[in-house]
């Protein structure tokens, strides 16, 4: 029982983290039609910035806040210097250019921070176990991630659905020429949306940093997960990204936790212990393949045109 609740919460926490990453990716992709493979690099940069700033300031919250700002600025610079020249180009051009950016960021990190990974220690007040149900405790930090990510998801939803900027963003997603013709500064709007996406990736990176080691290439695996999520959810749909992220987070976490035992019921224990890790890593890709075969536009396609 304890294990089930704990794994369930872990799945929720991982799913929400994936949502932050996928939300930025789907904003950029849905609105600017830009396939940004370097999104994972922004996640990595968020984690490195956080590790650095927390060490400098000695204060976890202040360091995290600075890291968030730094990722935002980095995203804006990246858009202005490089990516804005790619709008309207072939998706393949995006893939090639942002693949180049991945190489660049990985190497830049190796140059600046060295090849060894960093650790981001948590302050004591975030390491205490919190009682969530009678007799069941859950780490405060993971709980904090759940709360922060839910809050961000809510703000993002309200921001996109209820504010004027959000209205422009949605309008831009369905017809970019039209909102330009209405006198909206599209260039600025795009830069802001990209910056927002970068900050979301950075937030995901810095929150994940204390749980995993901060290391080079950490964004690559999780980037693919984020792509899987927006493909399952339907490209350009924040709601789809949210639901798919929770779903994928749950399946991935629960699969890793319980699949070995399940397999052991059917297979011999050695066969099960070899098959389980591969199978649980495959689960979400299997899920995506099934979704795409059944519904090629994803589960919750955004209303387009």
């Amino acid at each position: 029982m304890l294990l089930v609740v704990e794994q369930f919460l872990n799945g929720l926490q991982f799913g929400l983290l994936l949502f932050l990453l996928a939300a930025g990716l789907t904003l950029v992709f849905g609105i600017m039609d830009l396939v940004n493979l370097a999104h994972g690099s922004l996640y990595m940069m968020g984690a490195y910035f956080a590790a650095t700033f927390v060490a400098w300031t000695g204060n976890f919250l202040l360091g995290a806040l600075l890291a968030l700002g730094a990722t935002l600025v980095l995203g804006i610079v990246l858009e202005v210097v490089a990516l804005r020249h790619l709008y309207g180009r072939d998706h393949l051009d995006h893939v090639l250019a942002t693949f180049g950016l991945i190489l660049f960021f990985n190497e830049a990190v190796r140059l600046i921070w060295g090849p060894a990974g960093l650790a981001l220690p948590l302050p004591p007040w975030l390491t205490v176990p919190v009682p969530i149900l009678p007799g069941i405790h859950y780490p405060a930090y993971r709980l904090a991630i759940i709360v922060v990510a839910l809050l961000v998801a809510l703000l993002l939803y309200l921001g996109v659905m209820r504010t004027r900027i959000g209205m422009l963003i949605r309008a831009g997603a369905s017809n970019r020429e039209m909102i330009g013709a209405l006198g909206i500064n599209i260039k600025l709007l795009y830069t802001l949306v990209f910056g927002l996406g970068a900050a979301l990736a950075g937030l995901a990176g810095l929150m994940q940093a204390p749980i995993l080691t901060v290391q080079i290439g950490m964004g690559e695996n999780i980037l693919i997960l984020a792509f899987v999520i927006i493909v399952i959810g339907g490209i350009g749909s924040i709601r789809g990204a949210f639901l798919a992220a929770i779903f994928v987070g749950m399946i991935d976490t629960l699969g890793r936790a319980f699949l070995p035992n399940l397999l052991r019921q059917i297979l011999s224990s050695t066969a099960a212990s070899t098959a389980a890790p591969a199978l649980s890593s495959m689960l979400i890709y299997l899920l995506m393949a099934i979704v795409l075969v059944v519904r090629p536009e994803g589960l919750f396609p955004a209303n387009r045109r």
């Binding site: 051009d93 893939v95 090639l96 190497e107 792509f227 899987v228 591969a278 795409l292 075969v293």
Partner: protein, 314 residues
């Protein structure tokens, strides 16, 4: 006319260089360059196979590295189980790649555009995790191929020069085959599907079937590259199938010139030589390579062959 001749001259020069390379290697005693170019030729073969569906067919496969792994594991696993004959290993490698391509293609071709890119990627990642789970064949650590494929009486793969020429012959054979395909009625239909699928379907061509056949041919060719690669490195590991490898192949194709016969070969040669060259000047070679790719995208439309064409024209 002049534009054509510049890129043609460079292509001819490159091919002559590839053919004469072992001679240079022997005369200068530089064995390393032969090893390097064997790898380049094999990956050029893989890039050329990707170009068939990507450049001519408009199918952006982001999982092409999976075939490298499947071809490689076919050789590695058979060798491990005591089947050393290349006459068995290579056909099995090709058949396994073809079968994988048939299944993956049939499922993936239900989608299009970015969804196609992502689903091919997902299937390749699955293949990656399956290989990681093959405990009997090294799992994560990969599988050492202790003995190269045995083509006794025909060719000796342990001879560097013979192996190089085998790879080069395969590359040229594949390019001739691609040339024949794209100029055949079948190839014209596939290219027509790239430009306007609805129209081709309206004329009465079963679009998906044509695309699927093309997809399978491409995957089989890449499986051949995989079998050669395993023989070249005497090793095969899941890392061959990781998505960044598929990215590398895509980069080679776009860099050289998508939808041209020799573009992918040129892309592979330039990309891998650049990697080698930069890594000799600095440990941080990717710091230069990354922005370089970005600049090529921004200013070098049509890849190297496209740029050469423009240089000839202007």
């Amino acid at each position: 006319m002049k534009a054509l001749s510049v890129s043609k001259a460079v292509t001819a020069l490159m091919l002559a260089g590839l053919v004469l390379l072992p001679l240079y290697s022997q005369l200068s005693g530089n064995i390393f360059i032969l090893t390097l170019f064997t790898r380049i030729v094999i990956l050029a073969l893989a890039a050329a196979s990707l170009n068939l569906i990507m450049g001519y067919g408009g199918m952006m496969s982001f999982g092409h590295a999976a075939y490298l792994g499947i071809g490689g594991y076919a050789v590695g696993i058979l060798a491990q189980e005591g089947v050393g004959s290349g006459f068995i290993q290579f056909p099995v490698a090709l058949a396994a790649s073809a079968l994988y391509a048939l299944v993956i293609g049939a499922l993936s071709l239900r989608t299009r555009g970015v969804y196609f890119i992502m689903i091919t990627l997902a299937f390749a990642q699955m293949a990656y995790y399956v290989a990681s789970g093959l405990a009997r064949y090294g799992g994560d650590d990969g599988l050492t191929v202790y003995k190269r494929s045995d083509f006794s009486g025909l060719i000796d793969l342990s001879s560097r020069v013979q192996f190089y020429y085998l790879c080069l012959a395969c590359l040229i054979g594949v390019i001739v085959l691609i040339w024949r395909i794209v100029n055949s009625r079948f190839g014209l239909v596939v290219q027509g599907l790239r430009s306007n699928e609805q129209r081709m379907q309206a004329i009465g061509f079963p679009a998906k079937r044509y695309q699927l056949v093309c997809f399978v041919i491409s995957g089989t060719m890449c499986g051949l590259a995989g079998a050669l690669l395993a023989n070249n490195t005497d090793f095969v590991s899941p890392a061959v199938m990781y998505w960044t490898r598929s990215g590398d192949l895509m980069v080679m194709v776009i860099l050289g010139g998508m939808g041209t016969l020799f573009g992918p070969v040129m892309g592979a040669v330039v990309y891998l030589l650049l990697e080698e060259f930069l890594s000799q000047i600095t440990e941080y070679w990717a710091l230069i390579m990354g922005p370089l790719l970005l600049l090529i995208v921004l200013f070098g439309r049509g890849g190297i062959l496209g740029m050469l064409g423009r240089a000839g024209r202007g």
